[in-house]
Assembly symmetry: C2
Homo-oligomer: 156 residues x 2
């Protein structure tokens, strides 16, 4: 899926701008990269069609919607039967409190970032979702003091 794509410097510039601010107008982007509006529009359409641009998502202030606490869960799973693990990952990824899920090598099998109202809420999720499933051997919890996301595309 999505391979044969040679992107030139202009494509990267467009991707970079949109990754930083997906609400830029086509006109603004065109001006920034030195293209006519129609040419820029064509490129963006093409980037979408080729699966390079996957979509855009608004960033919401979690505190403002009552999610004042972030945590990272390190989950160890039992002997993996592929289907069971995949199911657990899928249902985990769709919990409203869950922000991201990583299936990884190493000490833990799953790394789950969550945003919750408070400690009680965190405890509830761990005991009601994670500790309830047989696949889960152990959950280690880290509280997030601070977090930053990078919204930039490395230059070609």
């Amino acid at each position: 899926m999505a391979a044969a794509t040679d992107l030139d410097r202009t494509d990267f510039a467009i991707l970079h701008l949109l990754a930083k601010d997906a609400w830029l107008s086509n006109k603004q982007i065109a001006a920034s990269v030195g293209l006519a509006a129609s040419s820029c529009h064509e490129r963006i359409k093409s980037l979408r069609a080729r699966g390079v641009l996957l979509g855009a998502h608004a960033e919401v202030n979690l505190e403002a919607i009552g999610l004042a606490l972030e945590a990272v869960l390190f989950v160890q799973l039992g002997k993996l039967e592929i289907g069971v693990v995949d199911d657990f990952v899928s249902t985990t990824a769709t919990l409203p409190e869950v922000r991201s899920v990583f299936l990884v090598s190493g000490r833990s099998d799953l790394i789950v970032a969550v945003a919750v109202r408070d400690m009680q809420h965190l405890k509830a999720i761990i005991s009601e979702h994670f500790n309830r499933h047989d696949v889960v051997l152990r959950v280690e919890t880290s509280v997030v003091f601070d977090s930053r996301q990078q919204h930039a595309i490395p230059a070609p």
Copy 2:
């Protein structure tokens, strides 16, 4: 920052829609939440002004831009002098390969998600950035097999 905000069901609906797809037009959102275009526009403007909506970011297919490998780094830092740690976190967060940084409690002090071209690139970042700084005691690396992000706002 950003506290005194009571959001009603309509606000949450708008946030939910924009978190899923920031490229929805105002007109489409208005129709979905059952408001006139002008009212919806006003609400979105207000959500932005109040710092509830922080912005929007395009999602780029990392593989398509040559970043075929994702990894998570667990970093242990030495006795923390606040200024030094903050500086290290800041410069780490702006490395082009870095996607997110979490400052956490527990076994590790820093959790860093990176996207890189290949193993050599991963090795280079770890040895040239992390292992070169005195603050860093140890880095443990996990390769990401699969990852998912949730773009949904929990209902009020």
